[in-house]
Symmetry: C2
Subunit: 319 residues, 2 copies
């Protein structure tokens, strides 16, 4: 990763223009009830309403349309527990090229169905990082497909950073933006955009306590890679990427961790008050805010609802 070149604000603007014909401008929703509960002005950026039901389409679409025609013709490949895989398949479809998706056993059924529906070519593997990477390399060798890593990829980061670009066009003044942290692609892109466009605003990451590798990595100043994730947030189980870790450190992004019970309570609040069907990985942002209510009191806070691909047959509510 020594050669990794982080995206700039200019790359994020380029990404924004590149994906404009394919991605959606997602709405910002509010709830008087949630504002009252938080004692702050909450502005929910609805990326669960993005194409494919998650923010991931932005980065995947930017990556797919960054390729030259020769590269594109050989297709793209990635490993993903779900939303990035579906997003890459959908993005590939906009360019009529093949997308190979390596999926670890145990992924959420609704997300697998999304990948297949989007025309992605599924490759199953064991649920370990090594098995994922090996399966990806095999596809690359056999097809010449370009790897589009879910988060440790500058094109993907730039695509995710367009969320902050768009949010600041919709809501010019924000004190804080809170995003979920899994591998750190969303947080990296948003940190770069926010630092450039609204330097007085803070980016805060929300991470499950049961997959707190970003939190511990930033605390130690060294990337922690030996955590076995245990959380209902299936989209946030990845280990923070190497360039992502470096970028979050450089931008002094702070991470708040929340346990699954708090995340579920927040998810329920979003369903009940905002009437939005979000997945657990989205709810960590509200859980983090409510966990440190006094700190955000009176602020204008942007919260990125990252995805809405939840199994309606296996809802985590109630007994």
């Amino acid at each position: 990763m020594a050669e990794f070149a982080a995206p700039t604000l200019r790359d994020i603007h380029t990404a924004s223009a590149r994906i404009a014909a394919h991605a959606r401008v997602t709405p910002v929703l509010r709830s008087a009830e949630l504002d009252a509960l938080a004692g702050a002005t909450l502005l929910f950026k609805c990326e669960h309403l993005q194409v494919g039901g998650a923010f991931k389409f932005r980065g995947a679409c930017n990556a797919v349309w960054s390729l030259d025609d020769d590269e594109a013709g050989r297709g793209v490949v990635t490993h993903s527990s779900g939303n990035h895989g579906a997003a890459l398949a959908l993005a590939a479809r906009t360019r009529k090229i093949p997308a190979h998706i390596v999926v670890p056993e145990g992924a959420v059924a609704a997300k697998l169905a999304n990948i297949e529906r989007a025309g992605g070519i599924l490759h199953r593997c064991a649920p370990t990082q090594a098995a994922r990477e090996e399966a990806c390399e095999k596809v690359q060798r056999e097809t010449g497909a370009t790897l589009v890593h879910p988060y440790a990829d500058a094109r993907v980061m730039a695509g995710q950073g367009t969320i902050v670009l768009e949010l600041l066009q919709q809501i010019p003044h924000l004190d804080t933006v809170i995003v979920p942290i899994g591998g750190g692609g969303l947080a990296s892109g948003c940190a770069i955009a926010l630092a450039a466009l609204s330097p007085q605003a803070r980016l805060v990451g929300a991470e499950p306590a049961g997959a707190n590798d970003a939190f511990r990595s930033l605390q130690r100043g060294q990337r922690v890679t030996d955590i076995v994730p245990h959380t209902i947030c299936d989209g946030l189980r990845a280990t923070i990427g190497e360039p992502n870790f470096a970028l979050l450190g450089a931008h002094r992004v702070e991470v708040i961790t929340v346990d699954d019970a708090a995340t579920l309570a927040a998810m329920r609040l979003v369903w009940a008050e905002l009437k939005q069907t979000i997945e657990p990985s989205s709810a960590v942002v509200l859980a983090a805010l409510l966990a440190q209510r006094e700190r955000f009191a009176g602020q204008r806070v942007g919260l990125v609802l990252s995805g809405g691909n939840v199994d309606l047959d296996a809802l985590p509510f109630a007994a």
Copy 2:
């Protein structure tokens, strides 16, 4: 009801101006997946994102702000299984006047909680039309409060009609608008607005097969009032109002009935694809469209999602 004066387009414009400071302009959402499934362009008007989580706030707010100061000071009263009650309480709060809500036993817990949270004064009664009316009259005698009927009220109809006004501003050309039918307040206001502003478009009502009094009334040319409703659509169990029946007949509104299984399947589709947490009474509009897919094929159809107040502890999905 001999003296009933139906609202005009002008009344609907007046209502729109009157409620503008309090009601929300709700977004119109789309889903490529649902368009593909329907073979039509579906434009979902998100009234479940209205203040109080249902379209009812529009009519209640118009009624409350139609009163002169003396009348207003004595408060308002209504009977409601839920959404209209909460809406009237919220509307009364915007004018700082008391709202008495008569609630039949068996109402949805989430809706009762909304009424109480909005500051409404609850009066319980037996779940019959006679008991509801008697309880309302008692409150009127004792307090001098003004009755704001949930649907057989010109101010309420005019308020609900502002939905079509707003929808046509957002989406200028529509072939059909589909709304749920309970007592017929929403359908009446929308029929008047649509006939005046877009006479080539059709208004279609969607009604549960287990509460098909509007369907049967229009078929017979005579109001049918002896149906015992049996449907999961708790917001659509009311009997069509007398003036509502007359207005729907005059505007030749057609009603499509759907059984609860079709409504549940449609509700699930809206949750999964549109990522919107709607209640069963909202889902009848999509169920009706899918039941007669060939007929709406290729059309631009506005579908009013009427409310999102669903009991998350008692979801009707799965086994």
